[in-house]
Structures are given as structure tokens and as C-alpha cells.
Symmetry: C2
Amino acid sequence: MKTEKITVVKLGGNIINDENSLNNFLFSFSSLKGKKILVHGGGKIATEISLKLGIETQMLNGRRVTDERSIDVITMVYAGLLNKKIVVKLQQYGCDAIGLCGADGNLIPAQKRSVIPVDYGFVGDPVSENINVALLNSLLGNNFSPVIAPVTHESGTLLNTNADTIASVLACALAKENEVQLIYCFEKNGVLLDSDDDESLISSLSKDHLQQLINEGKIHSGMLPKINAALNAQKNGVQRVVIGNAKQLTALADGSPACTTLH
Amino acid sequence: MKTEKITVVKLGGNIINDENSLNNFLFSFSSLKGKKILVHGGGKIATEISLKLGIETQMLNGRRVTDERSIDVITMVYAGLLNKKIVVKLQQYGCDAIGLCGADGNLIPAQKRSVIPVDYGFVGDPVSENINVALLNSLLGNNFSPVIAPVTHESGTLLNTNADTIASVLACALAKENEVQLIYCFEKNGVLLDSDDDESLISSLSKDHLQQLINEGKIHSGMLPKINAALNAQKNGVQRVVIGNAKQLTALADGSPACTTLH
């Protein structure tokens, strides 16, 4: 039996970079009715701080390598600075936020990526079946709103983990016993055919439709991880999955403004 | 009626600076029986990172000023890096740790220090009567061990707060309904008359005795905040308060090795 309605919101990095946009978003989040969870990304501040600390970003095959010093910066910035700045603002706005990373209360056990064929370092993928849903339900039941930083863990090691994936995995785990909607928020109105043209919004997207768009070269590859995470949630019991503009969070939660709905 | 026995442990900064000492301590903490809370200090890494980021430490009347960039570093390092490194190690050792700062779940509401006569910046003192004891009891009741970073909040602002004070205030708040022991751990065996001589240990210390030692110039002034926080807890219902060596945590929790007991 689906007992509770829960809204899981993922906030993308670009909104976090701008204090005004972030605070407007957090004010909207705080006013959402019912049980809610916020998963946040990282933003560019980790890169800025890495640069200042003299840590060079290593890239392999176009992807970032998270070495030991980088996972320290990610932990500091994501699970420390950003997570607590979000929490303290939500508290000010009357939302009883509680900030966690995936190591806290063993919330998100993960598996470090294989070092073969390429060692990307301290990067991990959540082990879906081991998510600590009881902790989330307990916090939500006590009217707390968990705020989750994209850091997970395995065997005493902290791991950098994609925030879109975390939002999807948490929503799926909660959907086993609750009615869950998952809202991906970022600076665009949804999935666009032309990333510079809000009018090119794809209002409805299925797995087959996505494959067709990929084949036609019409999808920006940078959007694929988010779309796949969203589709995965939709396939695994999450009742409603949308990708939309952070400025329209309230409308995204209550109805369907201009946005992309996954089917 | 005192319902539960709870051990509150404060870990001092110097132990945190050394990975081996820290891990040995955390292994001991994880093996403590019963409900337990860990409050940790900061250590020197915040100063090191501030230096690398080009943030100069301002001092006024011998005390550090926490400006906006400094509270960011403190939040990153204390509530992010150190808190999560401690949590992930405790998880590895089988202790279900959950890391929080004082903003999370409104755990430790604080009051920013007056800017008169001297503005020390983003520094705050806990508002004892507003501690969210219900959150601590709920987490402890679910067999989590809260790990608390020394950052508190007021009106949307994060504040740097003395960890010895936080440990004392939390222990006092819990002592209203529980049997609480408070253990201050650092690199010495307790309060020493000569900080280089472990044989000069003061095994028992009362408020009157402390005043006498201060008058005689026999107490190192750097120890006074810790001693006063400890005495305050002892005067406010905490059943047992000791200051001792982090290497002897298990013995400190179970009995009375060489240490300072507050009376």
C-alpha cells in the first residue's frame, strides 16, 4: 500500500552557483507541501577551490578523475559548505532541513567504480538495494526534510557520486512504500532540442523517443545522464518524473508548467 | 526519571590532526557500549586551508576573528571534511554514525556574539534552552551515534562555536531525562599543573579548587575554556564529567584511569 506522498527534488549545479537564484529556489522548496527531500549537485565552486589549493583537475577520456585530494575538496564543498548553506537557509525559511551525505547513517552505500579499463579514482555508484530507506522514512515521519549531498561511501572511503543518480535511486527506494514524485530542477525549462531555445522543449519523453533522438543526433550528450536517471526512476515505480526550471519549482510540484515529463 | 545512559565524548583538535591517532580513537569510540555522541573540534587543517586560499587569520585581543570567508572555510572543514571522515571511519568500524552540525534539524540554535566592544565576526554561543534534545533522543533511540561538528546557526547564518561548549551544553540538555557522562578527550592525561609533566595531573577538580589554582597562577589559561565547560556540565546535572587522554577512551568510559574528574 502506498502510504505517503513524497516529493524528491534534485537541484542542479548552475542554480547553486548564484546566491539569489539559490535562495529563491530554497524559498520555493520550503513552501512545498508535504514530505520532501532535496538532493543537490556541486556547482563550480569545488573546481574554483581546487584551483586555489593547487589541485589540478585530471581528465581521462573527457571525464574527471577524482584523486585523494579531489575527494577531500568534494567532501568539503558538497557535504560541508553547500549542504550547510542550504540547510541554514531552509531553516531560516521555516523548513526543518537536516543535511546528510551518503555515509551518514549508512544512507547510501555505494560501490567504487572498477579501475579497469580506466581508474577514475574515488567515484562510486549507489547500491540501490541497500539504500537506508528506514532512515529517510524516520526523518520524514518526524517532519524533517533531508538535504542530501552527492557523496557516498564504501568500506571507510568517501566516494564522489552523480547527484542525478542519487535522486533517482532514493526516489525508487522510497517508491516501494510511498507515492513519490521526482523533480529535476535546473536552469532550463526541460529537455530542449536546441539548448539555446526554450521553445524547443520536449514536453514528453519516453525511452524509445530518447533513442530515436540520440540516433538523429538531436540530444545534447551532457543531458543524457540526467535523462537516463529520470527514465530509470520512471521505470521503477516513481509515479511522476519531470525535468524543469528551478524558477518554477512550485508549479512543477503542483501541476505541469512547461517542462519535460518522462513516460 | 533518568531513563537512559548516554556517553557524550568531546574529541580535541590535536588528535584529529594525526590520522593514526584519530583512527585508533574512533575504533575505541565505536566499541563503547550503549548510546553515545561524539562532538569534535577543528584541528589545524582549517588554518592550513585558509592560508592556501589566501585568507589571513585576523586576531583581535589574542582571539581569532571569523569573517565571512573564514566561516566558509570552517563550515567546509569542520562540518564537511572532518565530520564526514569521522563518520565514514565509524561506519567502517560498525558504529552507525550520523554527522550533523548545529544547523541540521535546528539542533543547536545559537546567538551571535555581540559586536560590542569587539566584533569577532561569525561566532556564536549555543542557546542552551533551545537545544533540539528530541532530535538527539530520536537518533539515539534508533541506535545512531550523532557526530557533531562545532558549527551552529542563527537566522540563516552559520556560526563558529567552541566544541567544548557544545559538548557541555548537549550533555546538560540530555541530562534532564537521561543519565549522562561527559568525557573530554585530548592528548594529555587530564588537567596538568605542568603541561609537560604527566605526573603533575590534578585527579580531582572543583570550582573552588580551580579558583585557587588560577589565583596561584598554576593553571594554563588555554585550559580554562575546557575546564569551565566541564565544570558547567557537572553543576548542571551531568552525572560524571572527566578530562583525559584520548588513547584511554575505553578506560575513561568504563572507570577511572589517570584523568581529571570534575566535582
